[in-house]
């Protein structure tokens, strides 16, 4: 199970990584924009078991660390994403609950995105990273929350279908 999750995550988030770096990062969106890998990984994790989510978090975090724009130590995003994805899956949903309550899923992922960013800030500060003024951090966090609320409803159907396609076909 974990090996398959690892391989699937490698390709899926690899593609998302290219989309993020090649396209989304070049669009100057207000409020810092959004991180497609982060949102997708947490959405995917919300629909997965905690073990799968941890692997998803590990791979997606590794891609976030690989981003040339990241100035944090390599592995920091990996650590954060493992914890965040596992937590979302632990506290979160499953395919059934997502289908039954998509608004709840959107709310969960949006909150999770902000919480993940806060965790990153916190751990980053411990590692001596600089994140600008407090006001700037709050503004960025609010921006991430808003963008998540916009993007999650858009990508959730794709993630749900992709998951069911991959996992149903392999069964």
């Amino acid at each position: 199970m974990s090996r398959r999750d690892l391989i699937l995550s490698f390709f899926i988030f690899g593609a998302l990584f290219i989309i993020q770096e090649a396209f989304i990062n070049q669009v100057h969106l207000p409020f810092t924009g959004f991180n497609l890998i982060l949102i997708s990984a947490l959405t995917w994790s919300a629909l997965s078991s905690p073990e799968s989510a941890a692997v998803t978090g590990f791979v997606s975090g590794a891609y976030l660390d690989l981003s040339p724009a990241t100035d944090a130590p390599f592995g920091l995003w990996t650590l954060i994403m493992v914890i965040a994805a596992y937590s979302v899956a632990y506290f979160g949903a499953s395919d059934e609950t997502a289908k039954a309550n998509p608004v709840g899923l959107i709310g969960l992922v949006s909150v999770a995105v902000v919480a993940t960013e806060m965790l990153y800030l916190f751990v980053g500060v411990l590692f001596g990273l600089s994140f600008g003024s407090f006001f700037q951090m709050i503004r960025t966090l609010i921006g991430f929350g808003i963008w998540s609320a916009i993007i999650v409803p858009i990508i959730t159907p794709f993630v749900t279908r992709l998951r069911s396609l991959l996992y149903t076909s392999s069964l």
């Binding site: 974990s2 290219i18 770096e21 090649a22 396209f23 070049q26 669009v27 100057h28 905690p50 073990e51 941890a54 692997v55 978090g57 590990f58 975090g61 660390d65 690989l66 981003s67 040339p68 130590p73 390599f74 592995g75 920091l76 990996t78 650590l79 493992v82 914890i83 596992y86 590692f127």
Partner: protein
């Protein structure tokens, strides 16, 4: 004994967290592998980013234009206005440059003959509904201009002051059909009378046949008593064709005027002339024919075996 689901989950989680911490440690210790991974990713991403830029930038510009629609439109309008102003200024500068050139030539000519001149800008040329050939200049009695004064430009004679007003004057051009002037041929001093015929050429009637008029001869103003209406020595034109009948008393020739009467910008009115007649001093230098290079090719037959 196989681990249970809960302990396996914890084991996986701990493994992943420990791996992450290991990666952080390696990076902080400056291990080359991690550095290489990042730089390799940057290199691998470069072509994708170039493609992304090509796709995203036009879209981004479109949305940026939408966002700044009002500002962009006003910028375009401002630039259009500025462009129109600059074009207008350029036209004015070109016009002024041409006028300055004409003025310089007129002053050169007047200076050579020691004429006192008043230069003026041509306000209007010709008049619709009549066959006269006239121009209106922006100088009149207030500038010291009087009726029957010679008008020249850098090339030669332009006409004569026909009417004078306060700040303007009407000049009859040498091409006017009623224009007549006493002339002499530079060099031979053969005298004649030149009449305008409504074009850029006039008709010269020589008053004696002792010297033959030739094509290319330069025609000058003979001058009038008290330099009015014509000062002496002003170049008028060049003979282009001689057409005299064998039994005619005098020779008749076509004279092409030196000044381009269709492009007059600045003219000078001669308000005072020196007592000395400049004679042929104002005759423009004959144009030098441009040498045509010739190439001679000599074919040497090769010796036959």
């Amino acid at each position: 004994m196989a681990p249970s689901g809960g302990s396996r989950r914890r084991l996986l989680l701990v493994t992943l967290i420990v791996t992450s911490l290991l990666l952080i440690t390696l990076d902080l210790r400056g291990v080359q592998v991690v550095e290489g991974l990042k730089s390799g990713t940057g290199t691998a991403l470069s072509p994708f980013q170039k493609v992304g830029r090509a796709v995203v930038v036009p879209v981004r510009n479109f949305f940026a234009d939408l966002t700044h629609l009002g500002r962009t439109r006003s910028t375009i309008n401002n630039l259009r206005e500025e462009n129109a102003k600059l074009r207008s200024q350029l036209r004015v500068h070109k016009d002024e440059h041409g006028e300055a050139k004409q003025l310089k030539k007129a002053l050169d000519l007047a200076g050579k003959a020691r004429y006192a001149v008043v230069s003026a800008r041509v306000l209007a040329q010709g008049s619709t509904g009549s066959f006269t050939r006239t121009i209106t200049i922006d100088a009149g009695t207030s500038s010291g201009i009087k009726k029957n004064q010679t008008v020249i430009n850098g090339a030669g004679l332009v006409g004569v002051v026909k009417k004078v007003y306060g700040d303007t004057a009407l000049i009859m051009l040498i091409s006017d059909p009623s224009f007549k002037i006493g002339t002499r041929i530079a060099g031979t001093q053969q005298i004649g009378i030149l009449s305008g015929d409504g074009t850029n050429s006039g008709i010269l009637q020589a008053l004696d046949n002792r010297e033959e008029i030739k094509k290319g001869d330069v025609v000058l103003a003979r001058g009038s008593a008290n330099n009015s209406p014509f000062v002496p020595g002003v170049p008028i034109g060049t003979i282009t064709r001689v057409s005299s009948a064998t039994n005619s008393v005098s020779q008749v020739a076509d004279v092409r005027f030196f000044p381009n009467l269709n492009a007059l910008g600045i003219v000078s009115v001669v308000v005072g002339a020196s007592r000395n007649n400049p004679r042929d001093a104002l005759v423009p230098p004959a144009p030098r024919p441009t040498p045509i290079p010739t190439v001679t090719v000599t074919a040497t037959p090769s010796p036959s075996n």
